[in-house]
Protein backbone atom coordinates (compact mmCIF):
# COMPACT_ATOMS: atom_id res chain seq x y z
CA UNK A 1 0.00 0.00 0.00
CA UNK A 2 1.20 3.52 -0.76
CA UNK A 3 -0.11 6.40 1.34
CA UNK A 4 0.59 9.85 -0.03
CA UNK A 5 0.94 12.56 2.57
CA UNK A 6 0.21 16.13 1.62
CA UNK A 7 1.05 19.28 3.49
CA UNK A 8 3.53 22.04 3.87
CA UNK A 9 2.10 24.17 1.11
CA UNK A 10 1.83 27.28 3.25
CA UNK A 11 5.20 26.60 4.85
CA UNK A 12 6.85 26.27 1.43
CA UNK A 13 5.26 29.47 0.13
CA UNK A 14 6.41 31.36 3.19
CA UNK A 15 9.89 29.84 2.99
CA UNK A 16 10.17 31.10 -0.59
CA UNK A 17 9.01 34.51 0.53
CA UNK A 18 11.60 34.52 3.29
CA UNK A 19 14.26 33.46 0.78
CA UNK A 20 13.36 36.41 -1.44
CA UNK A 21 13.66 38.71 1.56
CA UNK A 22 17.06 37.37 2.61
CA UNK A 23 18.26 37.49 -0.97
CA UNK A 24 17.39 41.17 -1.16
CA UNK A 25 18.97 41.86 2.23
CA UNK A 26 19.01 45.35 3.73
CA UNK A 27 16.54 47.42 1.69
CA UNK A 28 18.42 50.62 2.45
CA UNK A 29 21.25 49.38 0.20
CA UNK A 30 20.88 49.55 -3.57
CA UNK A 31 20.17 46.20 -5.19
CA UNK A 32 22.94 44.77 -7.43
CA UNK A 33 22.23 44.89 -11.13
CA UNK A 34 22.92 42.06 -13.58
CA UNK A 35 25.29 44.40 -15.43
CA UNK A 36 27.25 45.00 -12.22
CA UNK A 37 27.61 41.27 -11.64
CA UNK A 38 28.77 40.76 -15.25
CA UNK A 39 31.28 43.60 -15.04
CA UNK A 40 32.59 43.28 -11.50
CA UNK A 41 32.24 39.58 -10.64
CA UNK A 42 33.22 38.39 -14.10
CA UNK A 43 35.16 35.33 -13.01
CA UNK A 44 32.23 34.04 -10.94
CA UNK A 45 30.10 34.48 -14.05
CA UNK A 46 32.70 32.61 -16.09
CA UNK A 47 32.73 29.69 -13.69
CA UNK A 48 28.96 29.40 -13.81
CA UNK A 49 29.00 29.43 -17.62
CA UNK A 50 31.74 26.79 -17.75
CA UNK A 51 30.11 24.36 -15.33
CA UNK A 52 26.56 24.96 -16.50
CA UNK A 53 28.00 24.38 -19.98
CA UNK A 54 26.06 27.38 -21.29
CA UNK A 55 27.80 30.48 -22.56
CA UNK A 56 25.67 33.50 -21.68
CA UNK A 57 27.02 36.17 -19.32
CA UNK A 58 23.70 37.82 -18.52
CA UNK A 59 21.92 34.57 -17.72
CA UNK A 60 24.84 33.39 -15.58
CA UNK A 61 24.79 36.70 -13.69
CA UNK A 62 21.06 36.40 -13.16
CA UNK A 63 21.55 32.85 -11.90
CA UNK A 64 24.17 33.80 -9.33
CA UNK A 65 22.09 36.71 -8.10
CA UNK A 66 19.06 34.45 -7.79
CA UNK A 67 21.21 31.88 -5.99
CA UNK A 68 22.51 34.47 -3.50
CA UNK A 69 26.04 33.75 -4.67
CA UNK A 70 25.77 29.95 -4.28
CA UNK A 71 27.77 28.85 -7.32
CA UNK A 72 26.45 25.31 -7.61
CA UNK A 73 22.86 26.48 -7.19
CA UNK A 74 23.50 29.07 -9.93
CA UNK A 75 25.00 26.39 -12.20
CA UNK A 76 21.97 24.19 -11.50
CA UNK A 77 19.53 26.98 -12.42
CA UNK A 78 21.33 27.74 -15.67
CA UNK A 79 21.55 24.02 -16.56
CA UNK A 80 17.82 23.71 -15.92
CA UNK A 81 17.10 26.73 -18.11
CA UNK A 82 19.04 25.33 -21.06
CA UNK A 83 16.70 22.36 -21.22
CA UNK A 84 13.89 24.75 -22.21
CA UNK A 85 15.72 25.93 -25.33
CA UNK A 86 15.75 24.26 -28.74
CA UNK A 87 19.08 23.21 -30.23
CA UNK A 88 19.90 25.06 -33.46
CA UNK A 89 22.98 23.08 -34.36
CA UNK A 90 26.68 22.45 -33.82
CA UNK A 91 29.20 25.21 -34.44
CA UNK A 92 32.25 24.91 -36.63
CA UNK A 93 35.15 24.00 -34.30
CA UNK A 94 36.59 27.17 -32.77
CA UNK A 95 40.10 28.18 -33.86
CA UNK A 96 42.16 28.92 -30.75
CA UNK A 97 45.26 29.67 -32.85
CA UNK A 98 43.42 32.65 -34.30
CA UNK A 99 42.40 33.92 -30.85
CA UNK A 100 42.42 37.62 -30.00
CA UNK A 101 44.80 36.94 -27.11
CA UNK A 102 44.30 38.71 -23.78
CA UNK A 103 46.82 36.61 -21.90
CA UNK A 104 49.36 34.01 -22.99
CA UNK A 105 52.14 32.60 -20.91
CA UNK A 106 54.46 29.66 -21.40
CA UNK A 107 56.48 27.92 -18.71
CA UNK A 108 58.60 26.06 -21.27
CA UNK A 109 60.01 28.84 -23.45
CA UNK A 110 61.08 32.24 -22.22
CA UNK A 111 61.40 33.96 -25.59
CA UNK A 112 58.76 32.72 -27.92
CA UNK A 113 56.99 34.41 -30.84
CA UNK A 114 54.34 36.69 -29.41
CA UNK A 115 56.09 36.81 -26.05
CA UNK A 116 54.83 36.31 -22.54
CA UNK A 117 51.64 38.36 -22.28
CA UNK A 118 50.56 38.56 -18.64
CA UNK A 119 47.13 40.09 -19.21
CA UNK A 120 44.73 40.70 -16.31
CA UNK A 121 46.28 38.16 -13.92
CA UNK A 122 46.34 37.67 -10.14
CA UNK A 123 49.85 36.21 -10.51
CA UNK A 124 52.56 38.45 -8.99
CA UNK A 125 50.00 40.27 -6.82
CA UNK A 126 50.78 40.18 -3.12
CA UNK A 127 47.53 38.57 -2.12
CA UNK A 128 47.08 41.23 0.53
CA UNK A 129 43.56 42.49 1.18
CA UNK A 130 43.24 45.86 -0.50
CA UNK A 131 41.45 48.39 1.70
CA UNK A 132 41.07 50.76 -1.24
CA UNK A 133 38.43 48.40 -2.64
CA UNK A 134 36.21 48.96 0.41
CA UNK A 135 35.26 52.27 -1.12
CA UNK A 136 34.88 53.29 -4.73
CA UNK A 137 38.23 54.87 -5.49
CA UNK A 138 38.97 55.76 -9.10
CA UNK A 139 40.89 53.13 -11.07
CA UNK A 140 43.55 54.09 -13.60
CA UNK A 141 43.02 53.20 -17.25
CA UNK A 142 45.20 50.34 -18.56
CA UNK A 143 48.59 51.12 -20.11
CA UNK A 144 48.81 50.74 -23.88
CA UNK A 145 51.60 49.62 -26.17
CA UNK A 146 51.94 48.82 -29.86
CA UNK A 147 51.03 45.11 -30.32
CA UNK A 148 53.73 42.71 -31.51
CA UNK A 149 53.45 39.59 -33.66
CA UNK A 150 50.66 36.98 -33.35
CA UNK A 151 51.21 34.56 -30.46
CA UNK A 152 52.04 31.23 -32.11
CA UNK A 153 51.08 27.96 -30.45
CA UNK A 154 53.82 26.43 -28.32
CA UNK A 155 52.92 22.92 -29.47
CA UNK A 156 53.84 24.00 -33.00
CA UNK A 157 57.37 24.93 -31.82
CA UNK A 158 58.07 21.48 -30.34
CA UNK A 159 56.33 19.83 -33.25
CA UNK A 160 59.02 21.21 -35.57
CA UNK A 161 61.53 18.91 -33.89
CA UNK A 162 59.19 15.93 -33.86
CA UNK A 163 59.56 15.68 -30.08
CA UNK A 164 55.89 16.07 -29.23
CA UNK A 165 52.80 14.13 -30.14
CA UNK A 166 50.40 15.81 -32.54
CA UNK A 167 47.01 17.29 -31.80
CA UNK A 168 44.56 14.59 -30.76
CA UNK A 169 43.11 12.43 -33.51
CA UNK A 170 40.22 10.07 -33.03
CA UNK A 171 40.00 6.83 -35.03
CA UNK A 172 38.88 7.32 -38.64
CA UNK A 173 35.16 7.87 -39.10
CA UNK A 174 34.64 8.78 -35.43
CA UNK A 175 31.81 11.25 -34.90
CA UNK A 176 32.20 13.47 -31.84
CA UNK A 177 29.83 12.27 -29.13
CA UNK A 178 27.55 14.59 -27.19
CA UNK A 179 26.89 13.99 -23.49
CA UNK A 180 23.76 16.10 -23.64
CA UNK A 181 22.23 13.67 -26.13
CA UNK A 182 23.46 10.18 -25.35
CA UNK A 183 23.79 8.44 -21.97
CA UNK A 184 27.32 7.89 -20.67
CA UNK A 185 29.05 4.61 -21.39
CA UNK A 186 32.48 3.41 -20.34
CA UNK A 187 35.11 3.16 -21.64
CA UNK A 188 34.51 6.67 -22.93
CA UNK A 189 36.41 8.08 -25.89
CA UNK A 190 38.61 11.13 -25.37
CA UNK A 191 36.28 13.62 -27.12
CA UNK A 192 33.46 12.79 -24.71
CA UNK A 193 35.81 12.84 -21.73
CA UNK A 194 36.90 16.34 -22.70
CA UNK A 195 33.27 17.46 -22.88
CA UNK A 196 32.65 16.03 -19.41
CA UNK A 197 35.80 17.62 -18.00
CA UNK A 198 35.02 21.01 -19.57
CA UNK A 199 31.79 21.13 -17.59
CA UNK A 200 33.15 19.32 -14.55
CA UNK A 201 33.40 20.85 -11.10
CA UNK A 202 36.49 23.05 -10.79
CA UNK A 203 37.19 21.96 -7.22
CA UNK A 204 36.96 18.26 -8.05
CA UNK A 205 39.25 18.59 -11.08
CA UNK A 206 41.67 20.76 -9.11
CA UNK A 207 41.92 18.11 -6.39
CA UNK A 208 42.46 15.33 -8.93
CA UNK A 209 45.07 17.37 -10.78
CA UNK A 210 46.82 18.04 -7.47
CA UNK A 211 46.75 14.33 -6.66
CA UNK A 212 48.62 13.55 -9.91
CA UNK A 213 51.34 16.01 -8.88
CA UNK A 214 51.63 14.44 -5.44
CA UNK A 215 52.35 11.03 -6.93
CA UNK A 216 48.95 9.46 -7.46
CA UNK A 217 49.59 8.73 -11.12
CA UNK A 218 53.01 9.54 -12.44
CA UNK A 219 53.27 12.82 -14.34
CA UNK A 220 55.98 15.35 -14.94
CA UNK A 221 54.05 18.24 -16.40
CA UNK A 222 54.98 21.66 -17.77
CA UNK A 223 52.59 24.35 -18.90
CA UNK A 224 53.48 24.55 -22.56
CA UNK A 225 51.04 27.37 -22.85
CA UNK A 226 48.00 28.95 -21.26
CA UNK A 227 46.08 31.39 -23.38
CA UNK A 228 42.95 33.38 -22.73
CA UNK A 229 41.09 35.42 -25.30
CA UNK A 230 38.22 35.72 -27.70
CA UNK A 231 37.46 33.32 -30.51
CA UNK A 232 34.81 33.46 -33.17
CA UNK A 233 31.84 31.06 -33.18
CA UNK A 234 30.62 30.10 -36.64
CA UNK A 235 27.47 28.19 -37.50
CA UNK A 236 26.75 26.58 -40.82
CA UNK A 237 23.40 27.73 -42.22
CA UNK A 238 22.04 24.97 -44.47
CA UNK A 239 19.53 27.38 -46.02
CA UNK A 240 22.42 29.53 -47.26
CA UNK A 241 25.07 26.89 -47.87
CA UNK A 242 27.80 28.68 -45.90
CA UNK A 243 28.87 29.27 -42.30
CA UNK A 244 28.26 32.63 -40.65
CA UNK A 245 29.84 34.11 -37.56
CA UNK A 246 27.57 34.50 -34.54
CA UNK A 247 29.98 36.59 -32.50
CA UNK A 248 32.85 35.84 -30.16
CA UNK A 249 33.24 34.01 -26.86
CA UNK A 250 36.09 34.14 -24.37
CA UNK A 251 37.81 30.84 -23.63
CA UNK A 252 40.86 29.65 -21.71
CA UNK A 253 43.09 27.02 -23.28
CA UNK A 254 45.89 25.06 -21.64
CA UNK A 255 48.45 22.86 -23.38
CA UNK A 256 50.11 20.76 -20.71
CA UNK A 257 53.29 19.02 -21.84
CA UNK A 258 54.33 15.77 -20.18
CA UNK A 259 57.51 13.80 -20.54
CA UNK A 260 56.95 10.23 -21.74
CA UNK A 261 59.74 7.70 -21.62
CA UNK A 262 58.41 5.75 -24.56
CA UNK A 263 56.97 2.29 -25.01
CA UNK A 264 57.41 -0.62 -27.37
CA UNK A 265 55.31 1.21 -29.93
CA UNK A 266 56.32 4.84 -29.36
CA UNK A 267 59.72 6.54 -28.99
CA UNK A 268 60.43 8.81 -26.00
CA UNK A 269 58.68 12.12 -26.54
CA UNK A 270 56.48 14.70 -24.95
CA UNK A 271 52.80 13.88 -24.66
CA UNK A 272 50.06 16.39 -24.09
CA UNK A 273 47.04 17.02 -21.95
CA UNK A 274 44.47 19.49 -23.19
CA UNK A 275 42.23 21.92 -21.34
CA UNK A 276 39.61 24.21 -22.86
CA UNK A 277 37.09 26.09 -20.75
CA UNK A 278 34.48 28.80 -21.27
CA UNK A 279 35.51 32.18 -19.89
CA UNK A 280 38.67 33.09 -18.03
CA UNK A 281 39.58 30.17 -15.83
CA UNK A 282 43.21 29.21 -15.82
CA UNK A 283 42.97 26.97 -12.77
CA UNK A 284 40.20 24.93 -14.37
CA UNK A 285 41.90 24.71 -17.78
CA UNK A 286 45.17 23.59 -16.18
CA UNK A 287 43.43 21.03 -13.97
CA UNK A 288 41.48 19.74 -16.97
CA UNK A 289 44.66 19.30 -19.00
CA UNK A 290 46.36 17.35 -16.20
CA UNK A 291 43.35 15.09 -15.75
CA UNK A 292 42.95 14.66 -19.52
CA UNK A 293 46.54 13.41 -19.71
CA UNK A 294 46.13 11.16 -16.66
CA UNK A 295 43.07 9.53 -18.24
CA UNK A 296 44.88 8.59 -21.46
CA UNK A 297 46.24 5.39 -19.92
CA UNK A 298 45.12 3.12 -22.72
CA UNK A 299 46.88 5.19 -25.39
CA UNK A 300 50.22 4.92 -23.60
CA UNK A 301 49.82 1.43 -22.11
CA UNK A 302 49.98 2.85 -18.59
CA UNK A 303 48.72 0.96 -15.54
CA UNK A 304 45.78 2.48 -13.71
CA UNK A 305 47.15 2.97 -10.21
CA UNK A 306 45.52 6.23 -9.08
CA UNK A 307 42.02 7.76 -8.93
CA UNK A 308 42.83 10.45 -11.52
CA UNK A 309 43.56 7.71 -14.10
CA UNK A 310 40.25 5.90 -13.55
CA UNK A 311 37.88 7.33 -16.13
CA UNK A 312 34.74 5.83 -14.66
CA UNK A 313 35.58 7.31 -11.25
CA UNK A 314 36.59 10.72 -12.62
CA UNK A 315 33.88 11.25 -15.22
CA UNK A 316 31.04 9.82 -13.12
CA UNK A 317 31.78 12.20 -10.25
CA UNK A 318 32.91 15.36 -12.03
CA UNK A 319 29.49 16.86 -12.59
CA UNK A 320 28.48 18.99 -9.63
CA UNK A 321 24.81 19.24 -10.63
CA UNK A 322 24.48 15.46 -10.55
CA UNK A 323 26.53 15.25 -7.38
CA UNK A 324 24.59 17.90 -5.52
CA UNK A 325 21.30 16.38 -6.59
CA UNK A 326 22.17 13.00 -5.17
CA UNK A 327 23.81 14.25 -1.98
CA UNK A 328 21.16 16.88 -1.25
CA UNK A 329 18.20 14.63 -1.95
CA UNK A 330 19.00 12.91 1.35
CA UNK A 331 17.37 15.81 3.22
CA UNK A 332 14.03 15.25 1.50
CA UNK A 333 11.36 13.23 3.33
CA UNK A 334 12.34 9.58 3.66
CA UNK A 335 9.74 8.94 6.35
CA UNK A 336 8.45 5.66 4.94
CA UNK A 337 11.92 4.39 4.03
CA UNK A 338 13.13 5.19 7.47
CA UNK A 339 10.10 3.59 9.14
CA UNK A 340 10.91 0.37 7.32
CA UNK A 341 14.56 0.61 8.37
CA UNK A 342 13.46 1.25 11.96
CA UNK A 343 11.31 -1.88 11.94
CA UNK A 344 14.18 -3.86 10.50
CA UNK A 345 16.67 -2.65 13.10
CA UNK A 346 14.16 -3.37 15.92
CA UNK A 347 13.69 -6.89 14.59
CA UNK A 348 17.43 -7.45 14.26
CA UNK A 349 17.88 -6.11 17.78
CA UNK A 350 15.26 -8.57 19.12
CA UNK A 351 16.90 -11.44 17.29
CA UNK A 352 20.29 -10.34 18.54
CA UNK A 353 19.06 -10.13 22.15
CA UNK A 354 17.27 -13.45 21.88
CA UNK A 355 20.42 -15.06 20.55
CA UNK A 356 22.48 -13.56 23.36
CA UNK A 357 19.96 -14.70 25.96
CA UNK A 358 20.00 -18.16 24.37
CA UNK A 359 23.77 -18.21 24.48
CA UNK A 360 23.78 -17.10 28.14
CA UNK A 361 21.27 -19.82 29.01
CA UNK A 362 23.32 -22.36 27.12
CA UNK A 363 26.45 -21.34 29.06
CA UNK A 364 24.51 -21.48 32.33
CA UNK A 365 23.21 -24.93 31.51
CA UNK A 366 26.67 -26.00 30.51
CA UNK A 367 28.06 -24.68 33.79
CA UNK A 368 25.42 -26.46 35.87
Amino acid sequence: MYVAVKGGEAAIANAHRLLADRRRGDRSLPSITIEQVVEQLGLAVDRIMAEASVYDRSLAALAVRQARGDMIEAIFILRAYRTTLPRFGYSEPIDTAGMLVERRVSATYKDLPGGQLLGPTFDYTHRLLDPSLIGDEPVAAPAMKEPGEQAMRVSDILDGEGLIEGDGQMPGGHVAGDLTREPMEFPMPRDLRLQALARGDEGFLLALAYSTQRGYGRTHPFVGEVRIGEVEVELDLPELGFAVSLGTIRVTECQMVNQFKGSAKQPPQFTRGYGLVFGQSERKAMSMSLVDRALRTDEFSEDIVAPAQDQEFVISHADNVQATGFVEHLKLPHYVDFQAELDLVRRMRRDHEAARAGQANGMKEAAE
Binding site: D56, L59, Y90, G115, P147, L179
Partner: protein, 156 residues
Protein backbone atom coordinates in the same frame (compact mmCIF):
# COMPACT_ATOMS: atom_id res chain seq x y z
CA UNK B 1 20.70 18.15 -51.94
CA UNK B 2 20.66 19.73 -55.39
CA UNK B 3 18.60 22.67 -54.20
CA UNK B 4 20.88 23.66 -51.37
CA UNK B 5 22.31 26.70 -53.09
CA UNK B 6 19.20 28.02 -54.76
CA UNK B 7 18.67 30.64 -52.08
CA UNK B 8 22.18 31.88 -52.40
CA UNK B 9 21.38 34.15 -55.29
CA UNK B 10 22.21 37.45 -53.64
CA UNK B 11 25.08 39.22 -55.34
CA UNK B 12 28.37 38.57 -53.59
CA UNK B 13 28.13 35.67 -51.14
CA UNK B 14 31.36 36.77 -49.50
CA UNK B 15 29.96 40.25 -48.99
CA UNK B 16 26.77 38.88 -47.48
CA UNK B 17 28.67 36.52 -45.17
CA UNK B 18 30.88 39.35 -43.95
CA UNK B 19 27.82 41.53 -43.54
CA UNK B 20 26.15 38.88 -41.39
CA UNK B 21 29.30 38.62 -39.29
CA UNK B 22 29.14 42.35 -38.62
CA UNK B 23 25.39 42.42 -38.00
CA UNK B 24 25.86 39.69 -35.38
CA UNK B 25 28.00 42.19 -33.44
CA UNK B 26 25.82 45.26 -33.96
CA UNK B 27 24.36 47.01 -30.95
CA UNK B 28 20.63 47.63 -30.77
CA UNK B 29 21.32 51.38 -30.97
CA UNK B 30 23.30 50.99 -34.20
CA UNK B 31 20.56 48.86 -35.74
CA UNK B 32 17.62 51.05 -34.75
CA UNK B 33 19.40 54.23 -35.86
CA UNK B 34 20.13 52.70 -39.27
CA UNK B 35 16.53 51.47 -39.60
CA UNK B 36 15.12 54.90 -38.68
CA UNK B 37 17.32 56.49 -41.35
CA UNK B 38 15.79 54.40 -44.14
CA UNK B 39 13.31 56.53 -46.05
CA UNK B 40 11.12 54.04 -47.97
CA UNK B 41 10.89 51.20 -45.47
CA UNK B 42 9.46 47.99 -46.93
CA UNK B 43 7.00 46.01 -44.81
CA UNK B 44 8.60 43.19 -42.85
CA UNK B 45 6.89 39.82 -42.35
CA UNK B 46 8.27 37.14 -40.02
CA UNK B 47 9.14 33.79 -41.61
CA UNK B 48 10.80 32.08 -38.63
CA UNK B 49 11.31 33.44 -35.13
CA UNK B 50 12.70 35.63 -33.71
CA UNK B 51 13.58 32.84 -31.31
CA UNK B 52 16.31 31.92 -28.85
CA UNK B 53 17.98 28.54 -28.74
CA UNK B 54 21.34 26.89 -28.27
CA UNK B 55 24.30 26.11 -30.45
CA UNK B 56 26.75 23.48 -29.28
CA UNK B 57 30.18 25.10 -29.50
CA UNK B 58 32.85 22.66 -30.62
CA UNK B 59 36.54 22.80 -29.87
CA UNK B 60 39.41 20.71 -31.22
CA UNK B 61 41.36 18.16 -29.20
CA UNK B 62 44.81 19.62 -28.55
CA UNK B 63 43.71 22.85 -30.23
CA UNK B 64 43.98 21.55 -33.79
CA UNK B 65 42.87 17.91 -33.67
CA UNK B 66 39.49 16.27 -34.08
CA UNK B 67 36.41 18.10 -32.83
CA UNK B 68 34.77 17.66 -29.44
CA UNK B 69 31.74 19.34 -27.90
CA UNK B 70 32.80 22.06 -25.49
CA UNK B 71 29.46 23.42 -24.31
CA UNK B 72 26.45 25.32 -25.55
CA UNK B 73 25.94 29.03 -26.18
CA UNK B 74 22.65 30.91 -26.38
CA UNK B 75 21.83 32.11 -29.88
CA UNK B 76 18.94 34.22 -31.14
CA UNK B 77 17.86 34.10 -34.74
CA UNK B 78 15.19 35.41 -37.06
CA UNK B 79 14.19 35.06 -40.68
CA UNK B 80 12.07 37.77 -42.29
CA UNK B 81 10.63 38.52 -45.72
CA UNK B 82 10.39 42.06 -47.03
CA UNK B 83 7.40 43.28 -49.03
CA UNK B 84 9.92 43.71 -51.87
CA UNK B 85 10.45 39.91 -51.79
CA UNK B 86 13.89 39.46 -50.23
CA UNK B 87 14.33 36.93 -47.42
CA UNK B 88 16.93 37.75 -44.78
CA UNK B 89 18.46 35.80 -41.90
CA UNK B 90 19.84 37.18 -38.65
CA UNK B 91 21.61 35.16 -35.97
CA UNK B 92 23.86 36.07 -33.08
CA UNK B 93 25.05 34.96 -29.67
CA UNK B 94 22.85 35.90 -26.74
CA UNK B 95 19.15 36.18 -26.03
CA UNK B 96 18.36 39.51 -27.69
CA UNK B 97 15.62 38.64 -30.18
CA UNK B 98 15.10 42.24 -31.22
CA UNK B 99 18.69 42.53 -32.43
CA UNK B 100 18.30 39.24 -34.31
CA UNK B 101 15.19 40.54 -36.06
CA UNK B 102 16.94 43.74 -37.13
CA UNK B 103 19.95 41.76 -38.34
CA UNK B 104 17.59 39.68 -40.50
CA UNK B 105 15.99 42.83 -41.90
CA UNK B 106 19.36 44.30 -42.84
CA UNK B 107 20.47 41.01 -44.39
CA UNK B 108 17.33 41.17 -46.54
CA UNK B 109 17.87 44.85 -47.38
CA UNK B 110 21.45 44.03 -48.40
CA UNK B 111 20.03 41.91 -51.23
CA UNK B 112 18.00 44.84 -52.54
CA UNK B 113 19.94 47.08 -54.91
CA UNK B 114 18.21 50.24 -53.76
CA UNK B 115 18.93 49.60 -50.10
CA UNK B 116 22.36 48.02 -50.30
CA UNK B 117 24.35 51.29 -49.96
CA UNK B 118 22.61 52.09 -46.67
CA UNK B 119 23.35 48.57 -45.36
CA UNK B 120 26.96 48.83 -46.46
CA UNK B 121 27.22 52.12 -44.57
CA UNK B 122 25.95 50.32 -41.46
CA UNK B 123 28.46 47.51 -42.04
CA UNK B 124 31.22 50.12 -42.25
CA UNK B 125 30.12 51.75 -39.03
CA UNK B 126 30.12 48.45 -37.12
CA UNK B 127 33.44 47.34 -38.62
CA UNK B 128 35.10 50.60 -37.61
CA UNK B 129 33.86 50.26 -34.03
CA UNK B 130 35.01 46.63 -33.81
CA UNK B 131 38.44 47.57 -35.18
CA UNK B 132 38.80 50.27 -32.53
CA UNK B 133 37.76 47.86 -29.77
CA UNK B 134 40.08 45.08 -30.94
CA UNK B 135 42.97 47.49 -31.37
CA UNK B 136 42.45 48.85 -27.85
CA UNK B 137 42.39 45.34 -26.37
CA UNK B 138 45.49 44.32 -28.30
CA UNK B 139 47.36 47.41 -27.11
CA UNK B 140 46.31 46.87 -23.50
CA UNK B 141 47.53 43.26 -23.68
CA UNK B 142 50.77 44.27 -25.41
CA UNK B 143 51.56 46.58 -22.49
CA UNK B 144 51.66 43.50 -20.22
CA UNK B 145 54.29 41.75 -22.36
CA UNK B 146 57.39 40.80 -20.42
CA UNK B 147 60.67 42.30 -21.60
CA UNK B 148 63.35 39.99 -20.22
CA UNK B 149 66.74 41.47 -19.51
CA UNK B 150 69.86 39.88 -18.08
CA UNK B 151 71.39 41.15 -14.85
CA UNK B 152 75.15 41.15 -14.99
CA UNK B 153 76.65 40.60 -11.56
CA UNK B 154 80.28 40.81 -10.54
CA UNK B 155 83.29 42.03 -12.53
CA UNK B 156 83.62 39.18 -15.06
Amino acid sequence: MNAQHTLDTAPGTAGRKEGMRLLARATLAELTAAWEAIADKPDVAPVRGPETGLVMVRGRIGGGGDPFNLGEATVSRATVRLSTGEVGHGQMLGTDKERARYAAIFDALFQNDAHRPAVEALHGLIAARLDREDQRKAEETAATRVDFFTMVRGED
